[in-house]
Symmetry: C3
Subunit: 122 residues, 3 copies
Amino acid sequence: MPLVEITLRKGRSPQQLRAIGDAVHDALIAQANVPADDRFQIFHEVEPHALIAHPTYGGVNRSDDLVIVRITLNAGRTLEIKKKLYADIVARMGIRPDDVLISLVEVTKENWSFGNGVATYG
Amino acid sequence: MPLVEITLRKGRSPQQLRAIGDAVHDALIAQANVPADDRFQIFHEVEPHALIAHPTYGGVNRSDDLVIVRITLNAGRTLEIKKKLYADIVARMGIRPDDVLISLVEVTKENWSFGNGVATYG
Amino acid sequence: MPLVEITLRKGRSPQQLRAIGDAVHDALIAQANVPADDRFQIFHEVEPHALIAHPTYGGVNRSDDLVIVRITLNAGRTLEIKKKLYADIVARMGIRPDDVLISLVEVTKENWSFGNGVATYG
């Protein structure tokens, strides 16, 4: 059920993208009770001018290697779980921790159909 | 008011994209009380490596023809309506039902401006 | 904290995109209490066939110059603030007011990590 959208500047290889996706997915499995086969990820590789990010907001030192991870997932994760999820995504990603930005959008479990036109968790 | 984002791998023609968009919009009209002229759709055609989707999660047989339909819409639709919406999108789309993934994000009606800087439903 | 996604048809220069982004950000600062250094914007420049928008829904006269502004931000802004935000984005953007479509998605403040794997507002 998490639907993950990863936005970053062009220039990484497909293998590097896959590794970034692996890190996000493995952290979701480890910290947020997501099944291993529940993996759905979209990558947006954008031109430099198409991504504007302040270099220091939030007390970090952000570079052009920034990875923006947006996760749409079911509501119900506690703050404690979210904190562990953020930390684990960064720990697994293997890039500078300053360059990982994460945004969660929570929805109700009725809001998903993973095929065949049925409400998967409805 | 629904804002629809459709993500799929490159390779379909503009006509095929239009037909996929038609299916989603016609189902929204038929099942979710959306006006016929309330159509706003963005298509993301991505490289194969930029879309990762598990082939069987949710008990389906997913292929590279996967279409991910994300709909941002006002809250208030019942589970019954959502179920009918999912089924109708798939019925109208004319592709394998296994290959249609739908994700809803619900918002409040105050959250839209369809032009002129006014809150359309505010 | 606002994460802004701006979708429009290809054809504008990077300078024009920057000006559109400036307008959104300056309105967020002026109307929605967003810090000046809290700027994160993604631009999607799409082919003409990849953006379908009804020409008159909402009582406006929409053209191919349409700019769709999606803002993910913390919940808590009143309708009054949202109205001022919509009006100010349009006022600052310098394009036809009919061609500015705005969609807000509200989240809880626990849902952000702006780097280092920490919950920025948690």
